[in-house]
């Protein structure tokens, strides 16, 4: 449940090619080997920009402070039926009867 706080180390690091590959895998994005260096450069450009934020003092700042309390919008528990489900199923890239079909699940989550 608790993330390791590697703030100090993280800010000094530049992103390696392996990191790019790891992130691409995590987000299920096919990235070709030739593209890796340019993505890596971009990562580092962004993070360099970001490192400038080190100069800013953010101690004691609560990022999710709720001083602007909005009236919470909740929904009444009243059913409604959507009768365009056929249009949704028609949009399925591969449909099998009333289902959305996917190929063999191998090495995936849960």
């Amino acid at each position: 449940m608790f993330r390791t706080t590697q703030s100090e180390e993280a800010l000094c690091m530049t992103v390696s090619e392996d990191e790019v590959r790891r992130v691409a895998a995590l987000i299920r994005l096919e990235v070709h080997e030739e593209e890796i260096p340019s993505f890596q450069r971009h990562f580092n450009d962004i993070l360099t920009q970001f490192h400038s934020l080190e100069r800013l003092d953010v101690t004691g700042v609560d990022p999710f402070a709720m001083d602007e309390v909005r009236k919470t919008l909740l929904r009444d528990d009243i059913p409604g039926t959507w009768n365009l489900r056929d249009e949704a199923l028609d949009a399925a890239p591969v449909r099998e009867g009333d289902f959305f079909r996917v190929p063999r699940i191998l090495g995936e989550a849960e």
Binding site: M66, L73, L74, R75, D77, T81, F99, R101
Partner: protein
């Protein structure tokens, strides 16, 4: 080297909330048996551009449960996104809660064999359910399936997750913890709490501690679909993990599935890397701020909780453990019992009558206490008559039958059965007459062969019947019946 092994068990329970609609859209929640993908809308399908809006009743139900468990309610509770890829997850993230759940802390006392153990509750939070996958291959299992089919009817159903600290010490205790939680959610009317149909799901985390200080890794157990399966699975795991540690090996930290058929837990596909869910607060959902008055009113209007009821029934009414058990499983039944006692019926008679007669009717007719047609006040009148010895138990049963079969009040039903207040029913009377006739066969013979011109003999029989009926019969009716019977028409 021998040492003693102590199990350390924590349970994560997912409860499907009995709301009318899903957590973030207005789709109805009755998805069981529905045509696949018929109970969906753009929101729960996660179509581009759609947004979630929380169901107020789901929030209320979770709040009710959290308060009943003694949790502290988090002001400004937030939803987080739990990001991962799987075809049953339409948005590729589940809207759940992370570090600001609705309820924190709390506890549940568990009774096993007279021993009471307090299990601490870590948190109570809300999240949405995922869809269902059907795997296309012979046994419907994932491995070896050529392809899979996704059905999103269940996607977005509101779930409440209750996480316990690893305070549970035995499989028996685990079972009783779940049983008590199940009683609670049913008592609060927030869920069916049915493990078989999936409205209550249990995942266990179990490790084994050795008295020499060694500690096995925590193993997650899934797929236990009944209380019995839970207990069996944990029993199995304790044996398995203990054996591993005794060999001096390490218990592998993993997720295992319970196979009820073989009676084993099996290692599920081991993943090279643990999930990185990249939790962050869902920007589509502002934090929830509850009016203090709303929370207070929910707390004030909680029904009598199972443990409070258990205490009251055992100590105030002296009911047996069995009786208490029956009533705790069905709040309506318990309330019926309370109504009977409130109307003056003695607790033991009320409990007895419910467990015999009322349950018999419910089993025959179905529909549960909600559909039971005999008002407690009416049944109380019946039982009061029995108590006053105005009605025999046999007669009472007759009247009761008329009451529930024909939806009659006690008064109407008694008249229907020919029993004026305090009289025997027709059948009971006939039985009585028959027994008198049997015992006095010679007199019967005499009357039948015409030897009772003045009617003295029949009056003699009438007297016998009246004595046997202890006054619970109408003399004229008895005479009439005797005449009919002697003539052979009855």
């Amino acid at each position: 080297m021998t040492c003693s092994y102590t199990p350390v068990i924590g349970l994560e329970i997912h409860v499907q909330l009995a709301t009318a609609t899903k957590l973030f859209c207005a789709c109805p929640t009755g998805y069981i048996g529905a045509v696949p993908n018929s109970n969906v809308c753009p929101v729960c399908l996660g179509l581009p551009g759609t947004l979630p809006v929380p169901n107020a009743r789901a929030v209320e139900f979770t709040l009710r449960t959290a308060l009943a468990l003694g949790c502290s309610v988090q002001r400004g509770t937030r939803f987080h996104r739990k990001n991962y890829f799987y075809p049953d997850l339409p948005k590729a993230y589940q809207i759940s809660q992370y570090d600001l759940p609705l309820g924190l802390g709390g506890s549940l006392d568990v009774r096993t064999d007279g021993d009471v153990h307090r299990i601490r509750i870590t948190r109570v939070h809300m999240e949405e359910d995922a869809g269902k996958l059907v795997h296309a291959c012979g046994d419907g299992r994932l491995s070896g399936a050529d392809h899979s089919l996704a059905d999103y009817n269940r996607a977005g159903i509101p779930l409440m997750e209750i996480v316990s600290e690893p305070d549970i010490r035995t499989p028996r205790e685990a079972r009783e913890y779940v049983a008590e939680l199940r009683r609670l959610v049913r008592c609060l009317d927030v869920s069916d709490g049915d493990m078989e149909s999936g409205s209550l799901r249990v995942d266990a985390n179990i490790s084994v501690k050795c008295s020499d200080g060694r500690w096995g890794s925590k193993v997650e157990i899934k797929n236990m679909n009944s209380l019995r399966a839970l207990e069996r699975a944990l029993d199995f795991e304790i044996v398995r993990q203990t054996a591993v540690l005794e060999k001096g090996e390490t218990v592998f930290q993993e997720t295992r599935h319970w196979d009820d058929v073989s009676g084993h837990t099996r290692s599920s596909r081991s993943k090279e890397e643990a999930h990185d869910y990249r939790y962050f607060p869902d920007p589509d959902l502002p934090p929830l701020f509850f009016e203090e008055s709303w929370v207070t009113s929910i707390a004030a209007t909680l029904p009598e909780l199972p443990w409070m009821r258990r205490e009251r029934y055992a100590s105030t009414f002296g009911l047996s453990g069995d009786d208490v058990g029956v009533f705790l499983e069905d709040r309506c039944l318990a309330e019926y019992f309370d109504a009977l006692v409130g109307a003056g019926v003695t607790p033991s008679r009320a409990a007895n009558w419910i467990r015999t007669e009322v349950l018999r009717v419910l089993n025959e007719v179905g529909g549960g206490m909600v559909a039971f047609p005999v008002a407690a006040a009416e049944l109380a009148s019946l039982l009061a008559a029995v108590e006053r010895r105005e009605l025999s138990v046999t007669a009472a049963r007759e009247v009761f039958d008329a009451m529930h079969k024909e939806h009659l009040s006690f008064e109407k039903a008694s008249r229907r059965c020919g029993i004026a207040s305090g009289n025997l029913g027709e059948n009971a009377l006939k039985d009585l007459l028959r027994s008198v006739l049997e015992e006095n066969a010679d007199v019967v013979e005499e009357i039948r062969s015409g030897g009772d011109v003045k009617g003295k003999k029949i009056r003699f029989l009438q007297g016998l019947v009246m004595r046997k009926a202890r006054g619970q019969a109408n003399p004229e009716s008895v005479l009439q019946l005797l005449e009919d019977m002697l003539r052979g028409e009855q």
